[in-house]
Symmetry: C3
Subunit: 166 residues, 3 copies
């Protein structure tokens, strides 16, 4: 166990663990937001979920898609697409023994960008607010040596290039 | 290599490795189930996949969505959304040196909840069976210190709150 | 830090880190491809994304789905479904102290299969090209002891069984 304790006592690794937990909890919060919107908007996708609202035809009308529910689900999927690379590359980055302040800066920028991205997506703020958060989050990857600059976690930033080039 | 061996010899870490592998294999099994339903229901999404069923118009009728296929795909996405946090938080939890029996309890509850969640989703059992599995799975996160209780892996449990409060 | 350096100096772990990074970058590239197709095909999903193309009704016509955009998004989701198991099982495999040449072989086959899978999906090549890449990628899991052979990362390989058995 001594070696495990040394790993967990490493400051960069502990910072990684903290921010990874924050961003994972934020991602799981999307499930509760989806649940909230599904219940308040009465928009379900599984027939068995509507059973408490009535039988037969009267329940069928709740089997529908709702714009707000779909928006939260897209935000959730976007989280998945960006946080999985963060977990993988961030772990390898933390194990490569970087400077603590540099690592903290990158972890905080990434997590901050994901949180503001969620707000920008859910409110929704007019573009390019969401796109900028995506691009800021991508800054996390720049320190990893040998990485091509342009390839970064711009998962749902499907339009930031468009806006930044204008 | 000595240090690596010590890491892999740690009992909690080995338990984490075992249960992470089980739950990942269960998730990959969803692909085979999707394949099975796509072939038996003849419901494909890519034109090139229907080539063996005929040419031109006769193949086009297989480009459709099927309720069972979509159900498996939702279960698969729900797995992803819940297992990614398990992998991340579970690894950090295992490295934090918890009690073995406590860790085993949490890993087993989480994995059991995911497996029964899949059965509840695919059969499908009437609600709140699926929701309860989601909530049980969320019990995994409770030991992690400082975690807000309510925020847990209730990804597709979009309606459990509704049922439990009644 | 000495122990961390020893972990990162382990050759199999370093190979895992390299190939995990490559495959994660490839996955993130899917975001840029999605962005490219969304902009060139003018097919958006969020109303705020179409603001630069016009106001009111003239912008609404860009809120549509496009076959190419959906194809890239399916490829992205398939990446997620396969790369998450790779990250988890691959890490545990690397920590179990396997032979370097065996590990390299498996990592390379998996990464190569994912890259060719993407090409086969996006071009698209006629089946069974994509299916074969899925099956090849699944070869990665075979060395992990005790694994059931047939259960492997055939996530979107919804039809390979069909083709191989003919």
């Amino acid at each position: 166990m001594a070696k495990l304790t040394q790993l967990i006592d490493n400051e960069v690794f502990r910072a990684y663990a903290t921010y990874a937990t924050i961003v994972l909890l934020k991602m799981m919060l999307m499930s509760l937001i989806t649940a909230y919107f599904r219940i308040t908007r009465k928009a379900f996708v599984n027939p068995e979920d509507t059973a408490s609202y009535g039988k037969g035809e009267s329940a069928k009308k709740y089997l529908r898609t709702d714009a707000d529910v779909e928006r939260v689900r897209r935000g959730h999927l976007n989280d998945l697409e960006n946080i999985v690379p963060f977990l993988g590359i961030g772990l390898l980055y933390a194990l490569s023994g970087p400077d603590l302040s540099t690592a903290l800066l990158h972890f905080r920028i990434f997590v901050g960008a994901r949180i503001t991205h969620t707000f920008a997506y859910l409110i929704p703020l007019p573009q390019p607010a969401r796109g900028i958060q995506c691009d800021t989050g991508s800054g996390f990857l720049l320190p990893v040596p040998g990485y091509v600059h342009g390839i970064s976690d711009q998962d749902a930033c499907q339009d930031i290039e468009d806006f930044l080039e204008k």
